[in-house]
């Protein structure tokens, strides 16, 4: 029987999408890459996922798991013609308030979990900007972050166990409710594995108590340097706020145009700082934030008066990427990390790179942990534009790594940063990662050609790859 015939037998015709146009819609995600889709399936149970994997394996078809398709690194865009497994309909939630945990299906939308637990006083801490749309399965697969991960840690700090379907179609549970299960910590290997090791069919996540008090402060500065100095100054004084976010002027204007939250559009850069916790601590920390802002020539300062105003400010920040469309039809961004002390120098270099390549660069970033999102707005339909953007962004990545940083803070490597991996990892590192992948998926059917550049596995060629061969 054909692959599609087998899949229809497992799921029925309504959950197997094989029309050309429907497949086309699954060829891309929130990023710029597009690939070819053989067929899309929408399983609803781990058992169905297992059957789908077995069928695909029988036919030798690669598999790309997909959540809401909000990723920006091409993680869900097939690199080779693949079966796309859409997990959007696996959205069971089982809440255990006693243990402050929840079992969630991979298709549960991040914010839905927090909304559901709000009245009980809890939330799911990782809050990517796409949290109103992205799925927890995707968050686990990419070890996603978000503004509030400065204080709370990224997704991996909030996952106790994952259930995955392996390349053999076996359903296995890694980790468990106990904080430190016996044996190797394979759970932490799967968190952030970007669909290369297995398909996540369930996760046990921690629920975090909602803070007793929150204060959100919006500060405007004449220059990016002042905003960054404020952010670093706050951390240097021993305060780790719930969030510290910076946007440059171009970004702020685009965002304000959509949200109308009163962002100061004349400021060279804005800092959105949030302190949360016990009311007394919040009071003291808010004072300190204001004090450091004043020391760094703050030009405007506003404290969100109520929850409505606070929500509006965050909506603005979290809509930043989408708002770029007001300037150009496409955007390309990197998600690099630099040490906080290198922020000012790195930002200057990034703007210089943009100028040299003649591209429109915008910056919005998690200043507290030095996680940058330098972003170029452009028009991909103009011939040669994408190449220019790629070249500029490669330089940006290099600059960040030279500053002692990392290639990805939270978005993943996917397709977009795969070939930049050798900038950060040497042959032995890449070989070790490729071996790990082989241990889980010897045939390399799960999300092939992602994350690891060609030639990562030295042993394949029987000799070490010369330095620079992947560049």
């Amino acid at each position: 029987m054909t692959l599609i015939g087998d899949l229809v037998e497992i799921l029925g015709p309504d959950r197997v999408l094989s029309e050309p146009l429907e497949r086309y819609l699954y060829g891309t995600d929130g990023g710029v890459a597009r690939g070819e889709v053989i067929v899309v399936v929408l399983p609803e149970t781990a058992g169905e996922v297992s059957d789908v994997v077995k069928a695909a394996k029988r036919h030798g078809s690669p598999i790309v798991p997909r959540g809401a398709g909000t990723g920006l690194a091409g993680g869900a865009a097939p690199a080779v013609p693949s079966v796309v497994v859409s997990l959007t309909n696996m959205k069971d939630i089982e809440i255990d308030l006693g243990n402050r945990t929840a079992w969630v299906g991979p298709g549960v939308i991040n914010l839905d979990l927090s909304k559901l637990t709000r009245s009980s006083g809890f939330h799911f801490a990782p809050d990517p900007s796409s949290q109103s749309a992205c799925t927890i399965g995707g968050n686990v697969a990419n070890n996603s972050g978000g503004p509030h991960c400065l204080a709370e840690g990224t997704t991996t700090s909030h996952v106790l166990a994952v259930e995955i379907v392996t390349a053999d179609g076996e359903i296995v549970l890694l980790g468990g409710p106990a904080p430190d299960p016996i044996g190797l910590d394979l759970r932490s290997v799967v968190v952030g594995s970007e669909g290369l090791l297995g398909i996540i069919t369930r996760a046990l996540v921690k629920l975090t108590p909602n803070p007793l008090a929150v204060r959100t402060i919006l500060a405007g500065f004449a220059t990016m340097e002042d905003a960054v100095a404020t952010s670093s100054g706050i951390v240097a004084r021993g305060v780790v706020p719930a969030a510290l976010e910076i946007m440059d002027q171009k970004m702020t204007r685009a965002v304000e145009n959509f949200v109308g939250a009163g962002f100061p559009i004349d400021a060279g850069a804005i800092l959105l700082a949030e302190v949360a916790g016990h009311p007394a601590a919040v009071e003291a920390e808010a004072r300190l934030v204001e004090q450091v802002a004043n020391e760094n020539h703050v030009t405007s300062l506003r404290v969100a008066a109520d929850e409505v105003e606070r929500a509006k400010l965050w909506l603005g920040r979290k809509s930043a990427f989408g708002a770029v469309a007001q300037l150009a039809p496409d955007y390309y961004l990197h998600d690099t990390v630099v040490p906080r002390t290198q922020l000012v120098a790195t930002m200057q270099k990034i703007y210089e790179i943009a100028e040299r390549h003649g591209v429109l660069m915008l910056n919005v970033f998690h200043a507290g942990d030095g996680n940058l999102h330098p972003l170029v707005a452009f028009d991909a339909s103009v011939e040669g534009q994408l190449d220019i953007v790629h070249a500029a962004m490669e330089e940006v990545a290099k600059v960040c790594i030279e500053a002692g940083g990392a290639l990805s803070g939270e978005h993943g490597i996917g397709l977009e940063k795969r070939d930049l991996m050798p900038l950060l990892y040497n042959e032995a590192d890449l070989d070790a990662q490729a071996r790990l992948r082989e241990a889980f998926d010897p045939d390399g059917l799960f999300n092939p050609q992602k994350v690891l550049p060609a030639g990562s596995r030295c042993a394949d060629l029987g000799r070490p790859i010369p330095t620079g061969a992947w560049l």
């Binding site: 086309y24 819609l25 891309t28 929408l42 749309a133 469309a325």
Partner: protein
């Protein structure tokens, strides 16, 4: 072949989408199916695929467009400000032009001709009226039976074309009243309440005799010519009023969009259009209409999509319900579509039924047995899904009743 009409989605409209996906969770049909082809992003990508020559306008494309409710909840959360409703109307216009199949032709006859013709509509009404008398609902096929159950008992038409109703007290302006098509004959109580409250708000209310159907359903269905014809006629009919008052959220949303259908004259016209809840809310705020001090109990407030998502009116119906002495009860923080969506309930019965049932559950959980809804389609959908024991009314009707009771 690509696009063939002047109304096709434009490059600027489609390029405005960067595929961030923030629209997905707001889309009722994506929530139900989990499929990209049932999401705003997927629909825009399908339109782009036609524009880029990747696919043709065919059955597969039509299916993806047809599943859209046009509730426009996606527009509210779109940071890229994609004019999704406009693009979808453009796609529907292309479907009408490129696939004039039999069902489409029949639909155009309904939305373009019958709704614009009082004579034909009266015949349809008569049939409904007779049906209600003889209890025909029981013998109808289930789909029609549900639609039938949503219709109010038909009462005599309250508003005569060409009439003028004088302001009560100080006069603040002249309001032209849109009687609409369905509202005119099937919801005359809402008209009576709206006109009475407009008079109390200080408006002389005129009912231009030459007005016609707003054209919303024709526009949603891609019927460009009829939409333009109806729009142009209304622009002329309402030339001599200060404000155009509309008591159907769907009609008001479309009238506010006339710039796309009647050019500059349409744009100027749009600026004078107000939903009845806006005008009455203003009158309450300025003290021209008193707030009742009687406690009349809870009322569940249902937000019609074309009021909340398109006209962005949220507070006004609640303020009106409050002024009538009721306490508004929230049923849905997300304001998701009830599944009525114009003719959607007839064209996509299964999706519509699921959304209607979910909305009815939200009402039941509120423990209110009166529901305020400012749109006739939603009202019918709610009535047919809630069944006996619930009253579904326009918020302005509640206020008019309270005013009359308090006057006594």
């Amino acid at each position: 072949m690509g696009w063939v009409t002047d109304h096709a989605p434009t490059g600027a409209e489609l390029n405005a989408c960067v595929r961030c996906g923030l629209c997905l969770p707001e889309c009722p049909t994506f929530r139900l199916t989990g499929k990209e082809s049932f999401s705003p992003r997927g629909r825009l990508m399908a339109m782009s695929a036609v524009a880029d020559g990747v696919v043709e306008v065919d059955e597969s494309f039509a299916g993806i467009m047809d599943s859209c409710l046009q509730c426009r909840a996606c527009e509210v959360v779109c940071p890229s400000l994609v004019p999704f409703g406009r693009a979808m109307e453009g796609a529907r216009a292309e479907l009408a032009a490129q696939m004039p199949s039999r069902t489409r032709a029949a639909r155009h006859l309904l939305v373009g001709r019958v709704l614009g013709s009082p004579g034909l509509l009266r015949m349809a009404t008569l049939a409904v009226k007779v049906g209600q008398k003889v209890g025909v609902g029981r013998v109808l096929p289930s789909l029609l039976r549900r639609g039938f159950a949503g219709i109010r008992p038909i009462t005599p038409v309250a508003v005569e074309p060409g009439s003028t109703y004088r302001a009560v007290g100080e006069r603040i302006g002249r309001a032209g009243f849109l009687t609409g098509c369905v509202m005119d004959v099937w919801f005359s109580d809402v008209h009576a309440a709206s006109i009475a409250m407009l008079q109390r708000a200080g408006y002389d209310v005129v009912v231009p005799a030459t007005q016609t159907c707003c054209g919303a359903l024709a526009a949603h269905d891609g019927d460009v010519k009829d939409t333009q014809r109806l729009a142009e006629r209304n622009v002329v009919a309402f030339a001599n009023v200060d404000v155009v008052a509309v008591d159907s959220a769907g009609c008001g949303a479309h009238l506010k969009d006339y710039e796309h259908w009647a050019g500059q004259a349409g744009e100027l016209f749009s600026k004078r259009v107000f939903d009845i809840t806006e005008l009455i809310d203003q009158a309450i705020a300025s003290g021209r209409i008193p707030k009742s001090s009687v406690d009349r109990g809870p009322v569940a407030v249902q937000d019609p999509c074309h009021l909340r998502h398109v006209q962005r009116i949220v507070d006004a119906p609640r303020n009106i319900v409050r002024a009538a002495g009721y306490s508004p009860v929230e049923i849905d923080p997300d304001g998701r579509c009830c599944g009525a969506a114009g003719m959607y309930s007839l064209l996509q019965p299964e999706l519509s039924r699921q959304l209607g049932a979910a909305k009815a559950d939200q009402v039941r959980q509120s423990h209110a047995n009166v529901v305020a809804s400012a749109n006739p389609g939603c009202e019918m959908q709610l009535r047919s899904h809630l069944g006996k024991g619930y009253e579904i009314v326009h918020p302005v009707e509640l206020l008019w009743r309270a005013v009359q009771e308090d006057d006594r």
